[in-house]
């Protein structure tokens, strides 16, 4: 995946239109019309039509001029994929994904089980981390979701590192062939404790488990069950991210402090930035402040270690 620098036919590209508009684009020269004809693949954007066959051969990150503006062709990293993908379920966002990967101790070569697959946003991040010699076994009780996920994994180039199955792990477990072979299990289920016996079966000694739940009651129940199933090092966390907006402004002395004797000691200014509009004669500076409204809660993450040489 790291060797692949240029966009090829049948690649998947994330079309960056603006920071709020990211679209999944499959690079084909033609598309089929309803009546079965093949016509050139033209993708409509607010900046005008994009002739998709023209992007073949461009490097990822390339800027494409359209009639009324430009777009970027981005590599489908798990983060961009998460922003652009069709949400079939509530998805996990990148902060929680980062913490899950770190706390499950994932790295190349690890064997991981995931239930449910959902929209596959976590799956992609797991795959990027465990490739090229690890394996992800992902399960969902929703048939369609599994089908969609398999197709997407393949188109993103993860196909050979993932096994996606339609199964209710609470009832049917993760499969006997995985017994004692799994390094980490991730559960995003309404009743995660129902999958705990199955998880314990497939986990190696000192294997890690993670569970994502939006409500305190689920966490409370899960922790009781984890302890009584011989899990240790329980840790329940929540991570909130606050973004700061950075704005370039033209500095004026506040009208409240216009006493004459202060002119020799001007307000402190930040370094000027060369990139500011050269037509602007004023002195550009900037300030940053946290956003007014931010995500207050996604869910609680509970982690534990499966101890097999006791209990």
């Amino acid at each position: 995946m790291h060797g692949q620098r240029c966009i090829e036919e049948n690649s998947v590209v994330i079309l960056y239109v603006d920071f709020k508009t990211l679209r999944v684009l499959r690079v084909t020269k033609t598309v089929d019309t309803k009546d079965g004809k093949k016509v050139p693949n033209i993708y409509q954007t607010i900046y005008g039509p994009l002739n998709v066959s023209e992007v073949i051969g461009k490097p990822y990150g390339a800027r494409i001029e359209l009639k009324k503006g430009f777009v970027y062709l981005m590599f489908p990293s798990p983060e961009l994929w998460t922003l652009a993908l069709p949400h079939r379920t509530q998805i996990l966002y990148s902060t929680d994904i980062s913490l899950i990967i770190a706390n499950l101790e994932l790295k190349p070569g690890k064997i991981v089980c995931e239930a449910g697959t959902g929209s596959g946003s976590l799956s992609c991040s797991i795959l990027r981390t465990i490739m090229p010699c690890g394996k992800l076994h992902t399960f969902d009780f929703h048939d369609q979701r599994v089908e969609c996920a398999v197709e997407e994994f393949t188109s993103l180039g993860y196909g050979e590192f993932v096994v996606a199955k339609h199964r209710d792990v609470c009832q049917d477990g993760f499969g006997v062939e995985l017994t004692g072979k799994v390094d980490a299990v991730f559960l995003d289920l309404p009743h995660p404790w129902l999958a705990l016996t199955a998880a314990t079966k497939v986990l190696k000694n000192c294997g890690r488990i993670a569970s994502f739940s939006p409500c305190v009651e689920q966490v409370q129940k899960m922790c009781v069950e984890l302890r009584s199933n011989g899990y240790e090092q329980l840790k329940t966390i929540e991570c909130l991210v606050r973004e700061s907006v950075v704005k370039t402004i033209t500095l004026t002395t506040p009208s409240l402090c216009t006493a004459k004797n202060r002119t020799e000691e001007p307000l402190p200014k930040r370094m000027k930035t060369d990139g500011s509009d050269p037509r602007d004669g004023g002195e550009a500076t900037f300030f940053s402040m946290p956003v007014t409204s931010c995500a207050g809660h996604t869910g609680f993450l509970t982690f534990a270690t499966c101890m097999k040489n006791r209990s």
């Binding site: 790295k107 070569g109 490739m131 370039t248």
Partner: protein, 464 residues
């Protein structure tokens, strides 16, 4: 790629966990002193056994403890009240009187024979405490923790992992790693998209090598990690890498590059500090204005940890207040060429100091770096960079041109290397010819085939 050994090996590193004590030790033959007033522990007694829970068992000779694996079913559940961390720092408790314990130290030692107590003996201590039941929850936890720190015979041995190494280093002294909390490290590694086989550059200062260790772990021995080092590289700078106990193969992607070697290429970035967000806000403004990155974000993250116990669920009473700021963005192609109206090897813009924006509106979007040269200074301009020089005073410039390509590719009559290389000039002639030919067609056709041929030209030349 390699498998972590599932049994404990001699001379490897292990994470040693006992109540109130988590650290990374090397499994030596010789018994280890752990702390004052505590007997030696013979880690070698665990060699060949799987990681997990052990009991400290006193040996007949000397004040030395061996590690014996806990047999299946033999362990008593550790008091879950102790799983919550951070309790010891709460100072609102009623002061614990030292006379409230009815059992004396001698009695304890007599009963246990070893000076250490199993988890099941903690009940005895609790039963014999005159004040335990009247204590607040916090005080009870503090009491139990204190007793277990002294007497517990439970030990867990784990293989080192970035999770444990980053927790241990941060908990020991957050300021020693500039408040780089494990969650912030996790977000950093994931946002950077570290994966096996990639090429990464790290400039890490005063974080004990946590970032370097994290990247190396995720590279799995393949790819490249260029670590920029500064003159001040101190010992212990890569403590995290050492503690992670990476094999030679996993360390192989790492190469160091002194900052001095980079400095002449540095286009003027400040080194981000993490005390406050200003340095990163400056970088944010730069990245945005240069147009070289999208989804540029400046974020701060809060971590809340919860104690989850039956009827006693609450966030921990102390938390980390500060783990710095993270700046992220994704690099995209910038194309100055289209903004500066180039024709041949010149720009149409006559006066760059006072440009005519009505005539050249796109110029406003161009990125421009300015610098002043003093006598004796030299400026390195990478090939294919558009540039403009203005003499502020009487000046003699000495130029040196590197020939990155074979000599014969350059125009012999152009010592400044400004002209296109010979093959390009010739190709241009061919293209001119093609254009002249297409122009003979009606405009619609000329346009259509012009695009088609341009596409062919682009694709074929980039394949080469």
């Amino acid at each position: 790629m390699e498998e972590t050994s599932e049994v404990i090996k001699l001379n490897s590193r292990v994470v040693f966990c006992r109540v109130g004590d988590k650290r990374i030790l090397t499994v030596h033959q010789k018994p280890l002193y752990l702390k004052k007033g505590f007997p030696k522990v013979n880690l070698a007694s665990a060699v060949g056994k799987p990681y997990g829970n052990f009991l400290l068992v006193k040996q007949k000779e000397g004040n030395v403890f061996n590690l014996e694996p806990l047999e299946v079913g033999s362990a008593k559940e550790v008091d879950p009240r102790l799983e919550a961390t951070g309790v010891t720092r709460d100072n609102r408790d009623i002061v614990d009187s030292s006379t409230s314990q009815k059992l004396t130290m001698d009695e304890i030692c007599t009963r246990t024979g070893s000076g250490l107590l199993g988890a099941e003996m903690i009940d005895l201590l609790v039963e014999n405490s005159a004040t335990f039941s009247s204590k607040s929850e916090y005080s009870q936890q503090k009491y139990l923790r204190k007793k277990l720190e002294k007497y517990s015979d439970n030990v867990t041995l784990m293989p080192p992992s970035l999770r444990l190494v980053s927790e241990i280093i941060f908990d020991y002294d957050p300021l020693s790693v500039q408040n780089l909390r494990p969650d912030t490290l996790a977000i950093l590694l994931n946002t950077a998209g570290i994966s096996c086989g990639g090429k990464y550059l790290v400039l890490e200062n005063g974080c004990k090598g946590l970032v370097t260790a994290g990247v190396l772990e995720r590279l799995g021995g393949e790819g490249r990690l260029i670590r920029i080092t500064t003159k001040k590289e101190r010992s212990g700078e890569l403590e995290a890498v050492e503690k992670l106990d990476l094999s030679k193969n996993l360390k192989q992607p790492l190469i160091s590059l002194p900052l001095q070697d980079l400095e002449c290429l540095n286009p003027g970035f400040e080194i981000p500090e993490k005390d406050n967000c200003f340095p990163l806000a400056e970088c944010h403004v730069m990245l945005k204005s240069m147009g070289c990155a999208v989804l540029v974000k400046l974020t701060e993250n809060w971590l809340r940890e919860y104690q989850v116990l039956p009827d006693r669920t609450h966030p921990l009473v102390t938390m980390s207040g500060n783990s710095g700021f993270l700046l992220s963005g994704i690099k995209v192609q910038t194309s100055n060429a289209e903004f500066i109206y180039p024709v041949g090897d010149k720009s149409l813009v006559e006066d760059l100091d006072l440009p005519d924006f009505d005539k050249f509106p796109k110029l406003a979007s161009a990125t421009c770096y300015k610098c002043f040269l003093k006598p004796g200074d030299a400026l390195f301009i990478p090939s294919l960079w558009y540039h403009n020089v203005k003499a502020l005073d009487f000046s003699v410039a000495v130029n040196f041109f590197w020939c990155g390509m074979r000599k014969e590719l350059y125009d012999a009559g152009d010592p400044y290397g400004n002209k296109d290389p010979v093959p390009v000039a010739r190709a241009a002639q061919s293209v001119d010819k093609a254009v002249a030919l297409l122009r003979t067609l009606p405009p619609k056709f000329a346009q259509f085939y012009g695009r088609k041929l341009a596409n062919v030209l682009y694709q074929k030349s980039s394949e080469g």
